[in-house]
Every structure is written in structure tokens, then in C-alpha cells.
Symmetry: none
Subunit: 205 residues, 4 copies
DNA sequence: TATGAATGAGGTTTCATTCAT
DNA sequence: TATGAATGAAACCTCATTCAT
């Protein structure tokens, strides 16, 4: 039984479905989106979709898995290429500044992302997994940078790197969330100001 | 002729329903919660619930309305009683520190609150209304305090009060959100550190 | 246990309920009318209505019973007072001409009446009862008049009185039904023309 | 890509549903018939029915639309084939004589038809539409025949064709209604007698 | 693999009737 | 008797999933 279609073909279809689903979830939320909505957006039939995913839940999970993976690997490399810790931090902030949820394109992502995080709250395993990923990747990334900066004399050695890693992400998430749920939020302006406060503190004596 | 039950009785019933609904929404989310879930939580029958609310949606909205109102009025008075701007700010932070979403009791509120804000994102009128409330009450409250502090020489006069009001709420929301979606988040520790950064900046020469 | 309120009082209340119900049934039909609709129209409470009628069905039946009774006794006396058969027939037609369903006031009655007749179709006992009433009263009334007219030489003796009684009522009902279900129906004009055809035939040689 | 079932297949299913619904409506009336009743009558599932019709109301409307269309087109052609106006009129009557509501088969149609007409009374748009159809088709058909007969010298030229068209349909509907709501009604006998009166008048000098 | 018609459990809502006051 | 809040069976409709083709 050799597969009739290539693995690539199948991966492409999967991605198409995930993208259609993402648009639906952004527009109406996970539960309010029906499989028929997803079918209507994609160019596939309902039966076809169930060839690629066992259930609507699985589409959601696959989508979130992809999203989480993406946001990670996007950074890792870019960070490694910057020289100083300051440059690395600034790069990160810059990346989020480009992510302004006031832009049509990004708001859907943000909504779906936060909804998924809230949803994960009710699934202990998922919550654990996402917490682990937060610590192992996002916090780890930041503590790495901060420690490097402290070693290089750029940053205040007395500050606890883990705490400031958490603060960094709280700031970014706080600004993004506000921009997502509020109308005409001055996302960039506020994020920049927060950046300057954060860096000032980190660089203090 | 005369009403058979008092107005208070009816208000009490409404509140009972809202509370039962709140528990359900916190546990399973709005859409995943069924009216039967709410019925099971409350001691009422399905029909009785529809005597007090026209639909499940209306229960949700009433619940959120109440929540938003509460969180507002809770502060206004307390703030007015403090003397200096610093005390006022500290009081606010203190209130949020008591709100640690790691506590069983608070996490439900937080989840439902954020889910509602995300949900409002798809309802322009609602989004506008909540944005307005954010500006008219929450931002206004903070700019008031900051300006007062600037006038009194407590705070740096060159900082834009509005921007720092937005920053304040971004910080609080960022920390709360992280605590809500992450396991074992050091909410209090992080929020306190952010407080000190924020106040340091505000008080800077 | 002497009754607290007089029998008259109770009869008056019953009539009030029946009238309210009639308006509702005319507006929305029997099944689409809710007990709450009837409550809203009447000045009574829901509980009170159930003191006077065991069920919504019973209200309907009582209403129809009343209607059927009314339409009968209204005629009987008036007929007896006319002299010739022609006068009697003309009186009857005249009564129906006044009943123009294009008038706001009458259309409700007509709708409810025909709906009830159609409804009775599914209840053999009711259908029998109403058929009996039709024959014993309405047909009988007409055959009486026609026979009288034949005896008096006014009407053609060769026509079968029963058949012409049936025709008379078919004509009246046909015109009334059309006026009920059609917009801007020339009820009076058509009924008058039918009257002239009918009488012409009856009086023929 | 290619539809999995033919358009005919789907039309056949639609018809099956409509027929099942018709039986139910005839037996219990529109409002008293539940979707489950229709499901039980048809061999389909509830969901399947909602694939073909958006709501119970729509089934009703589709059914009535079909009924009205049928009764129209049935005649148009047959009429055109007859020679004289008298033949045409007689053909029409003959068709209604075959429609005796005393026959099990026809009474259901009659009940549902009249109930629908009464129902349409509460829906101004529907009432207008049906009135228009009555005038544009049924009245028009008759006035055409009568004028033709007048032109050919068959019918009395002084009678108003429109009035006599209305009378014709009032007679047919009157007899049909009586046969529908009464037990053992001599439908054919009465309709024939009415036919002879009508034609006699029309042909009068 | 692909299609979309079919399934039916389960959701929301209505409303006739009851009953404590 | 009168009130109207409470009840819960039963109605309509949705939609994730299956399956014959």
C-alpha cells in the first residue's frame, strides 16, 4: 500500500485547513466556529477535513501547537545573531512592536492566541505544557540575555534575571492584550515607553 | 394586585443565578456552559431562570456588567480617602496584589473577565463601550492621581500622565494575565517589583 | 360554605376572559396565543384564569360554544317576526351583509370561527355536534322558510327545500370566506348579486 | 467536485418531506404538528430535514406554494383545449366535483388549504400575494371564459364578468368548505345544483 | 482520497399548569 | 379567590461526526 499522494501534499492540505480554521476562530471564536465555517473558508469538503484531522478539537490543538512553535523558533536564531545583550533585547521588543494588534492582520492572531491560553487553563496537562514551554523557552531566552548582559557589565548585577524575564514578558503581554481588547490603543507608543523604563532599570548603575 | 414577592427577593434571585452562572463560566467557559449546568448549580428550575433573564447571552452580559461596575466603584471611594498620590497608587497596587489569580477564588473571576474582554472584541458596540469605560474611569483615575502627584512635586512633571496611566494598567493586566494562564506564577513578587520600577520612574527627579 | 362571590360576578369574569381570549385567537390563532397573552389582555392574573377554566383548551371550547349559540338565537326570533318567506330570506341575507369581514370588527370573528370549524374536523364528536347543529338549526330554519314560501305560492314547488337550504348556506359561507382571506373583496356587491340569483331561481315560475 | 447526488434525487427528497409534512398538517394542523411527527412519517432523520428546509415554517410555505402552483397549472392547459365557453366552465366544475372532500384522500388537502388561507390572514405580505394570485389567475381565468362566451353569444352580455368570476369561486369554495367541515355533506349534489343555477343565469337571454 | 447527505444527541427556549402565599 | 413565581416536559434547531458512493 504505497501512499497515493506525497507527504508534502498532505502537509500542504493540513496547513490550508489550519489557516482556514485560524481565520474562523479569529472571527467567531473556537466554539462558535462550526466545521462548516471552516469548510466554507477552505477549498476542501467536510469529509476531506476529517481525513486530515480526527476532530474539531484536534484542529484547534494543532493550530495552537503550530502557533506556539512558530513564535519560538522565529526568535532563537535572530537572537543568536545579535552581538550585545542590549541589541538582543531591543530586537525582541522591535519584533513585538511590529506585531501591533491594531493592525487587522495581527489582531486575529492575538485573539486566538489569548483565547487558547485561557482555554488551556481548564486543561491541567495543557496548562502544564504551556507553562513549561514558557519557562523553558521564553524565560530561558531572557535570563540568558540578562545574565550575559550582567556578565558583560551592561546590566545591573543585583537584579534577579528570572524576575526580570517574567517582567519583560508581562510587559509585552500586557501591552498586547490591552491593544487587543481596546479601541485605538497607542500600542507602539506605550510599548516603547515601557521598553525605555525597563532598560533604564536594567542598566541602572 | 400587590406583588407577591418583594423587589429585594427578585434581586436576590437574580444574583443567585448570576453567581451560579459565573461559577459555570469560570469552570467551562461561556459557550461550553449549558443552561442545564447553570440550572444544576443554582437551586432553580430552567423555567425560573428564564423568568429572570431572557437568554443565556443576557445572563452573560448582566454578569459582565456587574463585574465591570463592581471593579470600578470598589476603587473610587477608597482612592478619595488616601492623602498623597503615592499612597493612592500604592493602595491600587495593593488591591491588585490581594487579587492573586493563583488563589482558587480569584482565578475564576480572572478567566471569565478576560474571556469576556476577548469576546467583546467581536462586538463593536461592546468593544467601544468597554474602551470608553476604560478611558473614562480607569485611565481617568490614574491621570488624576499622577497629575496630583506632579502638582505636589511628588512625581516627575515631564512624564505624560496619560501614557503612564496606560502603562500602569498594562502592567497590572500583564501580570494578572500571566498569573492566570501560567502555573505557579510568582504574581506577587513580580507585581511588587514592577511597582517599584514604575514608582521609581515616576518619582525620578 | 356559602360562595363568597355571586354567580353573576363569576359569569361576568368568565365573559371577560372569553373576550380577551377571542381577541388573542383572532390576532394570532389558538395555538400561537399563549395564556400569558390572554392574561395580558384581560385584567386578571394567570392564577385567576385557572380558577374559571381548567385549561386553555377549555377556554377555546367555551368560546366556540358561546359563538355557536349566539349566532343561532340571534336569528330565530327575528325570523319569526317577518311575514312572508321572501322577507325572511331577505332579512337573513341582510344580516350577513352587515357582517362584512372587510370591517375590522368582523374579520376577527370570522377567522376564529372558520379556524374552529377546521379544528373541529379533527375531533369526530365535535364535528358531529356541529353538523347536527347545522342541520337542526340552520338547515331547518331555511327549509322551514322555503317550504312556507312554496306553500304560499311564493317559491317554485319543484325545488328540494333541503338542497336549497344547503345552497343558501354554501353561498353565504363562500362569500364570507373569500372576504376573510382576500384583500379588498367586494363582499357586499357579490353577496347581493348571489342573493338575486338565488331568489330569482327560487321564485322561478 | 461533482455533486454526489443528482438534483433530481434532492428534488425527490424534498417532495417526500413535503408529503410527510402534508399528512401531518392534515391530521393535526400546522402548529400542533411537530418536526418529530414529520420525521416519524418520513424515513429521514431530523437533521436531514433541516438540510432541505431551514425551518418548520419554510416547509409549510413550500408546501402551500406547491399546492397553489399545482391547482393553477392543472387547469390552464385543460381549459385551453376546450372549445366553447360552456365546455370550459363545465370542465372546471367537473374538476371540482372530482375533488369531493368527503373522500378521505381529498379532505386532508382541503383542511390544510383552508387553514393556510386563514393563517395567511395574519401575514399581510402573504395575504397580498395570495390575493394577487387569486385575481391574476383564478379570476382572470373566469373573466376570460365569460367574456369569450359573451362575445360568442353564449352568455348574457349585460352581466359583469368580474362579478361572475368572483361568484363562481365563492360558490366552489362555499361548497368545498361546507363539505370539509360537515359530516355527510351532499357535496356533489349541491355543487351540481349550484352549477345549473349559475349557468342558467349566465345563459339567460 | 474526496464528497456532501445523513445522523441524532444535545442545546436553547417556550409555555401550560401548579401552588405557596 | 387572587397572585405571579416556579416547574419541567416538550418544542425547535444545530452541528460534530459518519459513511455510502
Amino acid at each position: 500500500m504505497t501512499p497515493i499522494v506525497s507527504e508534502e501534499y498532505k502537509q500542504k492540505k493540513r496547513q490550508e485547513i489550519l489557516q482556514s480554521a485560524h481565520v474562523c476562530f479569529a472571527e467567531k471564536g473556537f466554539e462558535a466556529s462550526t466545521v462548516d465555517d471552516i469548510v466554507a473558508r477552505s477549498k476542501l469538503s467536510k469529509g476531506a477535513i476529517y481525513n486530515y484531522f480526527k476532530s474539531k478539537d484536534e484542529i484547534y490543538l494543532a493550530l495552537m501547537e503550530g502557533q506556539t512553535n512558530d513564535s519560538g523558533s522565529k526568535f532563537a536564531k535572530a537572537i543568536a545573531e545579535r552581538e550585545t545583550s542590549l541589541e538582543k533585547l531591543n530586537y525582541l521588543i522591535e519584533a513585538y512592536l511590529d506585531n501591533d494588534p491594531n493592525d487587522e492582520e495581527n489582531i486575529g492572531h492575538a485573539i486566538v492566541h489569548y483565547e487558547f491560553r485561557l482555554y488551556s487553563t481548564r486543561n491541567p496537562k495543557l496548562k502544564d505544557m504551556l507553562t513549561k514551554r514558557y519557562r523553558d523557552f521564553f524565560v530561558s531566552l531572557l535570563t540568558g540575555i540578562i545574565k550575559e548582559g550582567q556578565a558583560a557589565g551592561e546590566f545591573n548585577k543585583e537584579l534577579d534575571p528570572e524576575t526580570y524575564a517574567d517582567i519583560f514578558w508581562a510587559i509585552v503581554n500586557g501591552a498586547t492584550l490591552q491593544a487587543t481588547i481596546l479601541e485605538d490603543y497607542h500600542y507602539k507608543h506605550i510599548l516603547r515607553e515601557m521598553q525605555s523604563i525597563f532598560l533604564e532599570k536594567l542598566s541602572s548603575k
